[in-house]
Amino acid sequence: MTAFLSYLISGLAIGCTYALVASGFVAIHRVTRVVNFAQGAFPVLAGLTVSSMLGRGLPHGAAELIGIAVAGLAGLVVGVVAIGKRGTPTLASLVITLGLGILAYAVEIVIWGDQPVSYSMLTGSVNIGGARIPTQYFLVIGVTVVTFVALALFFSRTYVGKALSACASNPYAARLTGIDPTRMGLVAFTLGGLLGGLAGVLITPLQPVAFDSDVLLATSGFAAAIFGGLNSAYAALVGGIVLGVLQAFVAGYLDAAYQTEVTLVLIILVMLYQSGRRSALTEELA
């Protein structure tokens, strides 16, 4: 029972970080229809930055904020290159984000070298039903829930949020009302960067990050995001949690080495299921 509980909660915590990465995918895709293959770079950049800042003596809180800000900036840069030039087709933007993700590798190696880093945030643990759960897990879960609620409210209640949704929903009509889809797209990319940064800040104490962590993070984030067809933040949260818990159980009861396969097969199955429900025409117009 204690093993089950500890897998469940650690899965929940990791799943929340996936959901945060996923929310970045969703924010960007909703507004620009672009899948940001560089999404995994944001958490890594944030984690690496925080660790450097802490190493220089900055206190917690300030270090994390800087890390998130750096990730947000990276998001903006990705956005500018991927969609800044008018007339860039969506699929080309996708490949461009892939290129930028690879470029991020180079940048990360040059600045931080190729060794994984980690740091600790909340120490100590809590005893629940006989299992020792690190307090960090609860911080992660709490922050994630708050973030998602804020995100949902932002998109549905604020004027700018609605304008962002409008861009996703009907870019032509948005242009007619004077909303600039490119500028809104950049806002979305920055938001994606900030969300990814938040994920990175929370996950690095749990799992060390290095320049090559972003593939796994992006993959898991994407897996979570497609639960909602890349458009629903709530579905991404559910997807992230399901994925995290599933991975934890696979690692705990089977073998950690199979985690990747499980994730990937799940992704493909979900995608196939969803595509079966959509016609070619709606895909083309999307």
């Binding site: 949704s165 032509y172 009509a173 948005a174 007619l176 009302t177």
Partner: protein
Amino acid sequence: MLDVTDLVVRYGKATALDGVSLHVAAGEMVALVGPNGAGKSTLVNTLSGILRAASGSFTVGGRLAQVPEGRQLFPELSVADNLRLGAWRLGRRPGARDPRRIYEILPDLARMARQPAGTLSGGQQQMVAVGRALMADPDILAVDELSLGLAPIVVADLARHLRELNESRGTAVLLIEQNARLAFDLCDRAYVLESGVISASGSSAELGRSEAITRAYLGGLTGTGTS
């Protein structure tokens, strides 16, 4: 209010508008009639700033808002939100984003305020599209294919609203229509656009009597009169 001079618009190598000139005075209702592919939507999109002209020019003495062909709403957003976004260009002026002033003109919209725009009927969506354009406080309204895909009685109702708008608030209207009878009934003056050039212009009465026009546009069409 609107002056278009020798406007030329191209898509790559194809010329959509080949030297179009027209004029809409403040408070006028003017029709632009023509068959499919004549370039009507191209003209309207150029006026809205979405397309760039290759040569020629146009001036708008005030704000121009477009009611696009096919409604083009934001289907997942509510009617009220669709309206609110129409005021985007007005910035943060107090009360700019309040849809209530539109509910006064188009009271039916108040009833549907919370419904997602995608769930409405064609006629209702068209009304939302008009309302959204009105939120920008325009001096001239460019209405593209108002009657497209709508039942005659619905079109009659919408046309009545447009006329009321024009009479009570002085909003100029440029009505782009394939349905020439509707256009001539609603507007005093009209231009005929064919293959990117203005082939005829004059008062609706004159054009309605012209044999060529009648043959091309009014022969065989059942009336969709608005009065």
